[in-house]
Assembly symmetry: C2
Homo-oligomer: 159 residues x 2
C-alpha cells in the first residue's frame, strides 16, 4: 500500500451455504440459505442479541465475478436492449469494481455460528465480509424515487 494508490485487505468472517450454486437472476426468496461464521474470526457471542432484529444486512463478495471484467463505465442491465444505458454505479450488478454486494434479508434463526436467512441473493460458497442489523433509523429517509427499469428488473427477483 502506498498513499497514492491505497489498497486494503478484507477477510471473510464466514461463508454462504445455499442450495443455489449458480448465479441466476431471479427467484431468490425460495432458496434456503445459511451463513456459517468462521470461529477463527469471531467469538460465539458476536451474534449475541442479533435475533432481536428481524432483518440483517449482509456484505458479501461476488467472488465468482472476474475482476478483469468489471465494468468501470456504463452498460445495459442484463444486456436488455429495452433498458437504458446506465453507469455501473447506478446498478447493483456483480461486474463492478471491488465486487462488493450488500443485501438486506430476513433473519430466521441465529445459532452460535450459523445464521439461517431468507432472501439472500448469494450463491453457495460466497465469502461474507460483514453482517449488520437493519435498524429503522438507517433506512432511507423521505420518498424513494427510482427509474422504471429498476422496477422491471426487480419484478421477479425475489419470488
Amino acid at each position: 500500500m502506498n498513499s497514492e494508490y491505497p489498497e486494503f485487505t478484507v477477510r471473510p468472517i464466514g461463508f454462504v451455504r445455499s442450495a443455489r450454486d449458480e448465479p441466476i437472476d431471479d427467484g431468490w426468496d425460495g432458496i434456503e440459505t445459511r451463513i456459517e461464521l468462521d470461529a477463527k474470526e469471531l467469538e460465539p457471542d458476536a451474534v449475541f442479541g442479533l435475533s432481536e432484529f428481524l432483518h440483517i444486512e449482509v456484505v458479501f463478495l461476488f467472488d465468482r465475478a472476474d475482476p478483469a471484467k468489471a465494468c468501470r463505465s456504463a452498460r445495459r442491465s442484463r444486456g436488455r436492449e429495452d433498458w437504458p444505458l446506465t453507469g455501473i454505479l447506478a446498478q447493483r450488478a456483480k461486474d463492478r469494481p471491488n465486487r462488493l454486494s450488500v443485501t438486506m434479508c430476513r433473519l430466521l434463526k441465529a445459532e452460535k455460528n450459523i445464521l439461517y436467512v431468507q432472501g439472500l441473493d448469494a450463491i453457495d460458497g460466497t465469502p461474507v465480509l460483514d453482517i449488520k442489523p437493519v435498524m429503522r433509523g438507517f433506512l432511507p429517509r423521505g420518498e424513494i424515487r427510482e427509474p422504471k427499469w429498476a422496477q422491471e428488473l426487480m419484478a421477479g427477483y425475489w419470488e
Copy 2:
C-alpha cells in the same frame, strides 16, 4: 491468498470530502459532504443515470479505526451501561472485523466525478469502496423489528 484463509484486496473508487473530520456520534444530516470519484478507477459515465435515484448506498471503510481493536465478541454500544451487552454483528459500530460501513444517503447532485450527498456518516478522507442505487425492491420486505436501544441510539444521529 490461500484457500484456507482467503484474503481479498479492495481499492477505493473515491474519497469523502466533508466539513467533519472527527468521528462524532450524532448530527450527521447537517454536514455537507461530497464524494470525489477517482478518475483512475472509473470513467465519467460510471454515474450515468444515477441521479434518477433519490438515494444511494455508500460502502466505505472506517479507515481511522484500528484493526487491532476490532471487537470480535460482544460489547455495549457507545459504552453505555444502560444499554445491553450486544454482539458486534448486532451493532453497526466502527470497531468491527473488516471495518466496513454501509449507509444510505440522499443524492443531491451528481456531476461527472463528484457526488453531492446529504446524510453520509463518513468523515473527511474516508475511502469509498462502492456506490449503489437505492431501489425499492432491495429495501427490507415486511415489518421491521428492532430492540429499544437501537431506537435510543438513533434518536439524535441524523439531526
